[in-house]
């Protein structure tokens, strides 16, 4: 695995990893923003001859960040998303002269392996110093031939074959068409500004994610509805406040012990004029028969449509299921993770400090009782009706598709 060589970048990465590891940086949005800033720094300062080298550096940094704090899923998500954008920008810049997709080509070796490519590529490779290149077994920028920048479901269908095959096809195909960008090295450097502006777009998106998610709020909440939520989620907070501009409804807020973040949300909602009722978690089932909708915030959305959400969510979801009450999760797209089987690991619930449940001073009790304080619940997809994201409203079953659209296959494993 390639590692980061640049001292400055390494220091930045190291600082962020230790912050994540020590939980000095916590919270999905904050972590995502910090990660974006780091990658922006890397793109601005890294020395790379080809786009692959840049991608390798970012991947290495991303891998370290994710290893440092696997429970903060947004870190990996943001890295993956930016990687995809970089690939798109690159493809776009290379493609500009021609309409069809192409391949920024790799080492001499891999070219000669693919037989027919050698004739066209020899002039190109002469402009490169071979040693600088990252030896990749397959060409690493998978671009469907038909698309120039967007990979969407329609393209997927149009193309009619799985992504991976498309990639291979693209590379072969790209090699057969006449390559117009004769100086990839120069162009790899020259797209730096484009990359940075792409990253800044991600940044903007992250910073405004609450507003964009809540843009459709009034379509989901109707007048005189009773909405139940649990704990404090800034997305839900923005969503409910936005809805309150057009609708009059009642918000029931479960307090979410032991963090009691629900208190904070209740206060905030009440102060903006929403009819708010704060209830203990234990009352969730009791009130459910009166509730029209359960709106929850997510910590991470998995590719299978399951969700990590604040502890207590599973209770609300099950209660809602019993009463056939719709369960809606509000979340920014940056919480979408290509992982899907992490819920098998017990530790992924992120067990936090038990002192919030049982005071440390309770010496004798503490000796006899093991106290668990999971931060999250895993809510399986069958308990969820819909996700409201800044990408639109999506049922759990379609999460898989959104993952495919958002991230690149290559990057699932950082």
């Amino acid at each position: 695995m390639p590692e980061i060589k640049d001292k400055g970048i390494l220091r930045q990465v190291e600082t962020l990893t230790s912050k994540l590891r020590r939980r000095q940086l916590a919270g999905a949005q904050e972590s995502a923003i910090e990660t974006t800033l780091l990658i922006k720094y890397i793109v601005a300062h890294a020395k790379f001859a080809t786009i692959h080298e840049l991608i390798a550096i970012i991947k290495a940094a991303g891998r370290r960040l994710v290893e440092a704090q696997p429970k903060e899923h947004t870190v990996g998500n943001v890295v993956r998303r930016i990687l995809r954008l970089i690939r798109e920008e690159w493809a776009a810049s290379v493609n500009k002269p021609v309409d069809e997709g192409d391949q920024p080509m790799t080492t001499e070796d891999s070219q000669t392996e693919t037989g027919e490519m050698s004739t066209q590529s020899s002039p190109r490779s002469s402009t490169l110093s071979v040693g600088e290149q990252t030896p990749l077994m397959t060409p690493a920028t998978p671009r469907p031939v038909v698309s120039d920048s967007q990979y969407s479901l329609s393209n997927f269908v149009l193309h009619g074959r799985p992504h991976r095959e498309a990639t291979d096809f693209a590379s072969v195909y790209a090699a057969t068409i006449q390559e117009s960008s004769t100086t990839p090295k120069k162009s790899a450097q020259s797209i730096r500004p484009a990359l940075i502006s792409a990253i800044e777009e991600v940044m903007d998106e992250l910073e405004t994610v609450f507003e964009t998610v809540s843009s459709s709020a009034k379509d989901h909440i109707h007048s005189d509805e009773i909405v139940l939520t649990l704990g404090m989620s800034r997305t839900v907070e923005a969503f409910l406040k936005k809805a309150a501009l057009d609708r009059k409804f009642t918000a029931l807020v479960a307090e979410a012990a032991p963090s009691f973040s629900g208190h904070q949300l209740a206060q905030s909602l009440a102060s903006s004029g929403i009819n708010t009722i704060l209830i203990p978690d234990s009352a969730v089932y009791a009130v459910m028969s009166r509730v029209n909708k359960v709106i929850l915030g997510a910590h991470a959305i998995l590719a299978n449509g399951g969700v990590y959400a604040v502890a207590g969510s599973i209770l609300a979801a099950h209660a809602a299921q019993t009463h056939r009450t719709p369960v809606v999760f509000c979340a920014g797209q940056f919480k979408l993770s290509p992982l899907w089987n992490v819920y098998h690991t017990y530790g992924s619930l992120d067990f936090a400090n038990p002192a919030h449940i049982l005071g440390f001073q309770e010496g004798k009790l503490m000796d006899q009782v093991d106290v668990l304080n999971p931060a999250y619940d895993y809510v399986p997809p069958e308990l969820i009706n819909v996700f409201i994201t800044n990408d639109g409203d999506i049922p759990p079953a379609s999460m898989n598709r959104l993952v495919k659209e958002t991230y690149d296959n290559e990057d699932y494993q950082l």
Binding site: E14, R21, F351, G363, K364
Partner: protein, 630 residues
């Protein structure tokens, strides 16, 4: 500690708290500590924490000496955080520092903030030997009085100056753990330098600052409401802190998240942690709750581990059972072994069928032979420079009786305080109380012939100086002072001065000095000392009288103690008419008799004593003889 060096836990705690630079002051094992730091992640260029190891001069004998050295090196130019190198915490120290700075800004006399954590009596993480009663101003947590409470003898009351009761509301608390984290201003080392007799940060320094009106400094306490902080002082707290870490009380400093050793652990139900790296588990081995298993470890068929920590590359063979024990790296446990509540050092080999009872400490590289049974509270280590495979090269120290001697030692019992209670009751600290009752029970040091039967006779015979060695610090130091005084022909008043300083420093009872004199054959100096102490207003007449009246002080006729008693009697007689003190001193000095003692109180004293010529007035000559004898 949980498969990472304890110092790394401390550094990690500090790094979490936002500390940027750390000076490690160490004396013994400096080279290995320095090397460990050099090879750790803290020395990498990207490390957020700068760590410097500094060697203390070999003359450093106490905390006070160390901090005076720090002062002399002028490393500290600003307010600093003072912690001990055995601390694990997740308290946001930066916030405490902020609060301290705010207070200091308001009042320049604020020199220190002590971090305390609430924990009820009986809490596992409370250090048994060193608890304290904090008397604070309820409004702002200003510390007004500090009184250390030893575990033995049991103290039922505390006292604080009446002057404190001046209308302000007071908090008197005994449910606090002293976390060993102090935010100090630059004045602290200076005060230490000015007061050369201060040795202990709490007992000497805090007491001095609080009582001294001249200094006029203030100390505050800060409750660590949210967070965990504890020191690993002894095997008992070692176990407690390990359990706290495994129980995630120190989150985010937990094995699966932020392990200082860089290991990766997987967190499983029941707070079981398995290293992600090469752990081999047999299909029918059993892992109980609260267990940490290090990388490369192996559990064979039907092995059972519960509540324990296994280091790297440990092997547990079939049928072995390990409960509440701490195995360091490379330990190998044979089939059918039973290990309870013990700590096993690196590369210990326990062969088939051996049983290690609770409370044992087994040193590095020790081999426990097949089917041997190690009794409770044993301490086994390998002698240095012995041939590696010699059976005889291991020595066993029976720790249990030794535990009874002083308040720092009794914590040797790592886990079982109930069992330890017996020793707590029998042992004594002898430095905290002037009550004759408790003093009487102090079996560690006195030269009385009627040494209580509770004292293990086998132990007494082992080493002539063993009882002295096992005394608390004061006893040792006082003895050293006396010895030096005799060896170097110092003036008796100088010795008395030093002793009195020492006595003040450790708040010891004057009777200790008497006993010391008796035991250590220096009773010739007793009279002089007594008078000197009296003159220096360290002890007053009442104390002498009380001692004098006590029947057991009198001792047997012709014994050491009896002579001392007579000296005291003479002195009292001189004092009684409130006569000139000068003359009483002269008198007592003249009257003092030699300590030559044909039937000494203790076997250990006997073993070193020889008959010597009696009756010598001259202090110096007397001391000459003593030194020869030495």
């Amino acid at each position: 500690m949980c498969n990472a060096p304890l110092l790394d836990w401390t550094f990690e705690s500090l790094a979490v708290a936002g500390v940027q630079e750390v000076f490690v002051m160490c004396q013994s094992h400096f080279e290995s500590i320095e090397e460990a730091i050099r090879n750790s992640k803290w020395s990498q260029t990207v490390s957020p924490l700068k760590v410097h190891a500094m060697k203390l001069p070999p003359t450093t004998r106490s905390f006070g000496d160390a901090i005076r050295f720090v002062d002399s090196q002028s490393i500290i130019t600003n307010d600093f955080v003072l912690v001990s190198g055995d601390m694990v915490c997740n308290v946001k120290i930066d916030e405490v520092v902020k609060a301290h700075k705010a207070r200091r800004k308001a009042d320049h006399e604020v020199i220190m903030t002590i971090l305390v954590k609430e924990a009820a009596v009986g809490h596992r993480t409370r250090p048994k030997g060193e608890t304290a009663v904090f008397t604070m101003d309820a409004a702002n947590n200003q510390l007004l009085h500090y009184e250390g409470v030893p575990a033995v003898p049991k103290v039922n009351k505390t006292a604080f100056p009446k002057a404190l009761l001046k209308g302000t509301e007071l908090d008197v608390r005994y449910d606090l753990i002293d976390c060993g984290i102090d935010i100090c201003s630059v004045d602290v080392p200076i005060i230490f330098s000015d007061n050369f007799h201060e040795n202990d940060l709490r007992r000497d320094f805090v007491t001095e600052v609080l009582t001294s009106e001249i200094l006029g400094k203030k100390i505050f306490c800060h409750y660590a409401e949210d967070g965990y902080a504890a020191r690993v002082r002894d095997p008992r707290t070692y176990a407690a802190v390990s359990r706290d870490i495994i129980g995630r009380w120190c989150f985010p400093l937990v094995p699966d998240d932020n392990h200082p050793g860089g290991h990766q652990y997987e967190h499983l139900p029941g707070n079981r942690y398995l290293a992600k790296d090469k752990v081999t588990l047999s299909r029918n081995c059993k892992i109980g709750n609260n267990t940490l298993i290090g990388p490369g470890s192996r559990l064979n068929d039907t092995a059972r581990v519960e509540g324990s920590v296994l280091g790297e590359n440990c092997t547990i063979n079939g049928g072995a059972m390990i409960r509440n024990s701490y195995l360091w790296n490379g330990v190998s446990i044979g089939a059918g072994c039973i290990i309870k509540e013990s700590i096993l050092g690196a590369n210990v080999v326990v062969e088939t069928g051996a049983v290690i009872e609770r409370g044992c400490l087994i040193g590095e590289d020790v081999v426990i032979r097949t089917h041997s049974r190690i009794p409770e509270f044993s301490r086994i280590a390998k002698k240095k420079d012995a041939a590696p495979d010699e059976e005889a090269s291991y020595y066993v120290e029976d720790a249990a009786p030794a535990d009874s001697d002083s308040d720092s030692d009794e914590d040797q019992d790592p886990l079982e305080s109930a069992a330890n209670l017996r020793y707590l009751r029998l042992g004594g600290t002898g430095k905290d109380s002037s009550e004759s009752e408790t003093e009487y029970n102090d079996s560690g040091s006195e030269g009385e012939a009627d040494v209580h039967d509770v004292y293990d006779p086998a132990e007494l015979g082992r080493d002539p100086w063993s009882s002295l060695r096992r005394q608390d610090e004061f006893g040792r130091e006082a003895y050293q002072t006396l010895k030096r005084g005799v060896d170097e022909h110092l003036n008796v008043s100088d010795v008395a001065l030093e002793l009195s300083t020492l006595r003040m420093a450790s708040n010891a009872d004057p009777e200790r000095i008497k006993k010391l004199c008796a035991t250590s054959n220096y009773s010739s100096a007793f009279g002089a000392l007594l008078s000197a102490l009296f003159l220096a207003e360290i002890i007053d007449e009442d104390v002498i009288e009380a001692w004098h009246l006590r029947p057991d002080s009198r001792g047997e006729e012709g014994s050491n103690l009896n002579k001392l008693w007579r000296v005291g009697q003479a002195m009292l007689a001189a004092l009684a008419p409130d006569s000139d003190e000068e003359s009483s001193e002269e008198e007592s000095e003249e009257e003092e008799s030699d300590d030559e003692d044909p039937a000494p109180a203790k076997p250990n004293a006997a073993s070193k004593k020889e008959a010597e010529e009696s009756d010598d007035e001259d202090e110096d000559e007397e001391e000459d003889e003593e030194s020869e004898e030495e």
